[in-house]
Symmetry: C2
Subunit: 462 residues, 2 copies
């Protein structure tokens, strides 16, 4: 009898892998160890629970523990923490209620996820100061808002979590300030898109502080103020609630302690099937996989390892590993770093490589254009502006990335994401046959218009 | 001095070609002969003018004759009909006010468009019976509705023009019946999408007659009734207004008379740069191009000549020919037959090859799935159903086509259209990194879900 397929971590990557393996090979035992209570939940939905758009926290659970156990026949053990991996003995050490047991595995999937980064601010442990990375925190913020009725909130970090939380807290009637150390919000979305979002945040009443370092939070048990650098001085502002969203770090301790190699991004290195490597000699560990927010995947543009802790990447890699473990090898798929975020009335989306320096370090000579187009013909009711930034390599014409921002139509980023997977050039992208009818698009879809303009620029620079 | 670039026809293909050539080579004279008054108008917007969503007919004009003449320096001559082409002498015969003149050309672009097919029904010349293919007809229908206040309308033909006109006339408070000879509407959109649209048309009060042949229209000067086959009998129904939209035929007489080759579809055959062929020996006519609704383009899936009279194809081919004529050869681009149509509250879109027989005749073994997905996660407000049909070739896994239908998110067809251009397989499509956030999409975009399911089916049939 084969030893079971053991999964560490019960969220997107882990549960996708467990479900797929069991479905494809029902005879194999599949055990999932999850250190918390929650499994398979939509972390990306948490801001909308806080906002009040999603009535119940349970609504965010895609599949319940009971469904995994009863319908999918997965041996799911919540409140079980894997504290050690022995890749020679092919076993894991599992802690529960102060005791530990050993569990042998035939194949192992490490899906330990990522954790919110907690910067070394004073006052981080005051009541009313939260990070947001798991369901308990989302629950706590929502209860705090309901029970304490805060008037002011400070959001620390202008990434997509910060932007979503600003909208959510504003939606609860709270005055929101946002603090970002860098000169712009939404760093990976490129300058043009970030600027458009920033103007809109200000229009919607968010007090936006860019290039501003937060120094600490203060209050008597409960947070009352936030202190931040203002030029050479330190300023303070009222903050009845603080949400810190300055990024996430992959949970790699378990892997690192087991002698599994980390990659250049600091996440667990993997091959195209999600298999890990032995840190001592770089050899593939055939039976140990990693996927999700703790693991690297290959960037489809650069071909280099990348760490993009997003839900689709995790789900897809987990599912592929489940298939591989069940006997049908499936590649985990690369990432284009595609992301989309709602910021009040705007959508902003990005894919590929937008940063010129990153493009150059991957061997490209980036050329970029930003165009403004309409989402529908000028004469059709409801047409709104869509701003598209498109980047390509000067010598080959290959499309490298894009960003779009506007009130509707931002899913058009998928056209470019698909073009990136297929390594299309700008002139090939320009010749794709996209859908047109007045209620849906102008004749030249904004993506095609951007490709036309970028094509012209590439030609001129020949 | 080079002879001028002469363009026959002042709509999408012709004006795109003229504008591009003049912009890229300002020293070259560019003359456009248009037999009517209107140039560069959005034919696809006409139903929305009739509906009342677009206030003025002039709103549909993208660029006015004055703008072409003054800003773009194009010698645009409206009310000039080209009645002959001599490819040996490189000249055209132009008729105006009963006289004709000869005009020499260095390069010639034939952009004569297409005309609405007029079936041999009795009563087609009654007042109140219209086809809809040009601006004068749109104007006439709108005036007829405003002045005569019809209570009932019959739409003959269930293609996209019929569906759009049904919505438009319903929007003017008219009871609409629709008659389609075939067993379904929207033939090129595939059965699943057509059925969904048909159910919705009925829900919205359209009296839908499928597999129903119309025999004639009757009335005293003005149309009053429509007669149609009902089983073995003939039935009649009131119709104060009739719109016939049973397709278009390419305007090829001019080309055919000039000895230019027509292709298998009946439209003008072209090579990848839009150049035409000599019918007598099949040789390329270097200086004579054709583009738009009168010309063939290559289908990106089958590699075969296709006739897809749609606006983007015409604009793109015209523009490419303008570039070629100005000295920078540009391919006209293929077609995937991508189309999208609004049917009351639904959108329906299609791309590629959906018809199994057509796929087989192009050498494929089509396998297809239809899935139902949500446009957003179940917990996010406003999620609606999106039905996706995806077709691939069994032996290679190559994606052949798709159709989607739903209340929002139908522009997702562009993902598949891009995949078709890039000749992606289902497993490559499944691994594209599409954008996810709850306000915009489920984790697995409906297109990815369809690819997953189709991938599983292809595997099973291995």
């Amino acid at each position: 009898m084969t030893d079971p397929f053991v999964v560490v971590g019960g969220d997107a990557a882990g549960m996708s892998g467990a479900s797929k393996a069991k479905r494809d090979d029902p005879s194999r035992d599949v055990i999932v160890f999850e250190r918390g209570e929650w499994v398979s939940y939509a972390a990306c939905g948490m801001p909308y629970y806080v906002k009040g758009s999603v009535p119940e926290l349970d609504d965010l659970v895609a599949v319940t523990p009971e469904e995994f156990r009863e319908e999918r026949d997965v041996d799911l053990r919540t409140n079980h923490e894997v504290v050690g991996v022995d890749t020679d003995a092919k076993s894991v050490t599992v802690a529960r209620d102060g005791t530990t047991v050993e569990q042998r595995y035939g194949d192992l999937l490490i899906g330990t996820g990522a954790s919110a980064i907690e910067p070394p601010f004073d006052g981080l442990d005051l009541e009313g100061v939260f990070t947001i990375h798991d369901m308990d925190e989302a629950d706590a913020i929502e209860r705090y808002v309901t029970e304490r009725d805060p008037e002011t909130a400070a959001v620390v970090g202008g990434g997509y979590v910060g932007v979503e939380m600003a909208e959510a807290l504003d939606g609860r009637g709270i005055d929101v300030s946002m603090y970002e150390m860098l000169p712009r919000t939404l760093q990976p979305f490129g300058e043009e898109t970030a600027r458009t979002v920033e103007d809109h945040l200000r229009e919607r009443g968010v007090d936006l502080h860019l290039e501003t370092a937060v120094s600490d939070f203060a209050g008597d048990e409960t947070v009352e103020t936030i202190a931040y650098e203002d030029g050479d001085a330190t300023a303070t502002a009222d903050a009845d609630l603080v949400v810190v969203g300055v990024g996430v770090a992959p949970n790699v301790e378990l892997a690192e302690d087991a002698g599994i190699e980390l990659g250049p991004t600091g996440a667990i290195a993997t091959d195209e099937y999600g298999r890990t490597f032995d840190a001592s000699d770089g050899s593939v560990i055939e039976s140990v996989y990693a996927a999700g927010d703790c693991a690297e995947v290959t960037n489809v543009v650069t071909g280099e390892p990348d760490h993009v802790p997003l839900a689709l990447t995790a789900n897809r890699a987990g599912r592929a590993i489940g298939s591989t473990v069940a006997g049908d090898p499936m590649r985990t798929g690369g990432t284009a770093g595609t992301a989309i975020v709602k910021a009040f009335d705007l959508g902003a989306a990005r894919t590929g490589i937008l940063d010129a320096e990153r493009a150059r370090s991957a061997g490209f000579e980036p050329v970029s254009v930003t165009i403004e187009a309409q989402t529908r013909p000028h004469y059709y009711p409801g047409a709104t502006k869509l701003t598209v930034t498109l980047v390509a390599d000067e010598s080959t014409g290959r499309v490298l990335g894009a960003s779009v921002v506007g009130k509707e139509g931002t899913k058009r980023i998928d056209t470019v994401a698909t073009a990136l997977s297929a390594e299309l050039t700008v002139s090939e992208l320009q010749n794709t046959d996209l859908a047109y009818a007045p209620p849906f698009s102008p004749v030249w879809d904004p993506i095609l218009t951007a490709a036309k303009v970028l094509g012209g620029k590439l030609q001129t620079e020949d």
